[in-house]
Symmetry: C2
Subunit: 339 residues, 2 copies
């Protein structure tokens, strides 16, 4: 299996990405194709004693890097020679089986859609982020598609359900439609129509509307929503996490007794803070594409990249793209099988 | 000044509402008109030693109560004789200067719009909830209007700014437009248009788009958004608060040392939990109406009701309705003054 890794993108690139690649290179049967400036990669690896001169790591040169400030479409325009664009082109051409990048989410989604392309019959691809709630909750869409038609909610529910089942091992994942009340008549016109379509969709475990209040407590396994609302949910979760943590810090700083108390629970609180700082765990799969693409968190360290590579491997192993195509567009698959 | 209080609505009604009324009756120059079943009110007051037989408290009978399950329009239909509907009618007729209710938010908004009515020229009235973020943040709309036109965002920004300035004492409140990025081109078509209108609106301190991540940390004083997104923000904030608190509880319960540690910060943590349990503080004003209506939190106790009454008094004292009318529809006011 061949996994492409964009080693130049992300807050800690290329150092931490290379560390993750080095760890992943120990995995059996795996080949890694890394994209980026060959010089920078070599220098960084040498300076930090990272061994990338291995049989199962190959470097493909790329002249530029997409930053967080670049527009999504820069990946196919002025930065079509970037580490991200080069990686996506390799993926589209079949040089690799899946790709991992910790770079600009908008650019990765735009580039994936335009270069790797969607599964035929899938109306929209989207970013499916796993939120660190009581149970891991897949939020789809978390920012790619601002407004979506009612039937797109259904495809999101189907794709996200398959992902949670096959990759995260959640049996019969509970699908909730993000809304402002439990009743089927609540919400925008599109959301009401989506409710009616979801209710009639076989092979998903639709539990109805889910409200913002129920999400963190584990009210569903898959939360379907448009990219506007989803992005606000994603970022507000992160914002609430760091705000509450700062309030807790204030409580502890009050006096000598509270300061002593802080020492006793330090590790637990630190872990909780980390969970919410990232606002998500694991990489975020881009679902609906003809090849698996994993968006690792921007602040990923080596271990996070290693885990994202393993996540990409599971997507390939489980034949997720084929499964999604079979579920969403069985007629097209039947036709292709006949051809 | 006369404040109407619906004493039958709310999780702790009528007992806690009556307690709040009793406290408020000590305020100088205030008359209270309470609506509800005269028998229940008398019995509850007697059973708990609450003195409501005072010169400045009058009871107006109402046969029914709107529950949380009732549809918003029940207030003008099958439950037009409810404590909420009777109160709103008294307010519309001029028997009182403002009203407080801890009941069903949807019904209170629908009833206010249909019975008390909007200020002439105000396109939509809305629920403005104060969120317990780093600084009190007025979220408008927090659930009344699912979808709104771009010019409605502007009126929301103007009304909410006036409220924060006059009632909450925030000088030149920073107005943020809830969005998924800082750039003016981000968001839905309506949000992009709203951005352009807000930018050109005089007399408000528009600071541009605000993302979910920035809200809890105090990124703005007024957050304008549609009622769908706003309601999800409101409820997700509450959900994140109680989820993180439950995680902290787990950390403390781990062993004897952590349990001891918990004792040292008990009060601070409890206060933080209470702040987030309510998910808001103070009552939520319904802005845009021709008379002030304050929605007290459903779980209000006596003190919360007392505070909501004082909040209603401040709205009357500051002539908020007139100020809103002058700012939003100056031509109409000029015309009325000429008549």
């Amino acid at each position: 299996m061949k996994i492409i890794v964009d080693v130049m993108s992300g807050d800690n690139a290329p150092l931490e990405i290379l560390r993750g690649v080095e760890m992943a290179s120990e995995l059996e049967g795996l080949e890694l194709i890394i994209t980026g400036s060959e010089e920078t990669i070599r220098e960084t690896a040498e300076a930090h004693g990272i061994s990338i001169n291995k049989d199962n790591i190959s470097v493909v040169g790329a002249e530029s890097v997409i930053t967080m400030e670049d527009a999504p479409l820069s990946v196919v325009r002025e930065k079509s020679n970037s580490s991200m664009a080069v990686g996506l082109k390799l993926l589209a051409e079949g040089a690799g089986d899946a790709m991992v990048s910790a770079g600009n989410t908008g650019a990765l989604h735009a580039g994936s859609t335009l270069i790797v392309r969607r599964i035929k019959g899938v109306k929209k691809s989207a970013i499916a982020t796993i939120l660190p709630y009581k149970n891991p909750t897949l939020l789809m869409d978390s920012g790619a598609n601002i407004e979506i038609a009612p039937d797109v909610y259904v495809q999101f529910a189907q794709m996200a359900s398959l992902y949670m089942e096959r990759i995260m091992g959640v049996e019969s994942p509970r699908v909730g439609l993000l809304n402002i009340g439990a009743e089927p008549t609540k919400g925008t016109k599109n959301v009401v129509e989506a409710y009616n379509l979801l209710k009639e969709t076989p092979d998903i475990n639709f539990i109805g509307n889910i409200e913002g209040k129920e999400l963190p407590g584990g009210g569903c396994d898959v939360c379907v929503t448009d990219g506007f609302t989803g992005n606000i949910v994603l970022k507000l979760t992160e914002g609430c996490g760091s705000f509450i943590m700062s309030k807790i810090k204030e409580i502890y700083k009050k006096n000598a007794v509270t300061k002593m108390s802080a020492l006793m629970v330090k590790n637990g609180i630190k872990k909780l803070k980390n969970d919410f700082d990232a606002s998500e765990y694991g990489g975020a799969p881009l679902l609906g594409l003809s090849k698996p693409v994993i968006k690792a968190h921007g602040s990923s360290d080596g271990l996070a990249i290693y885990n994202a590579v393993r996540q990409a491997m599971r997507c390939v192993d489980s034949n997720m793209v084929y499964e999604i195509a079979m579920k969403l567009v069985p007629n097209i698959m039947e036709q292709q099988n006949r051809d």
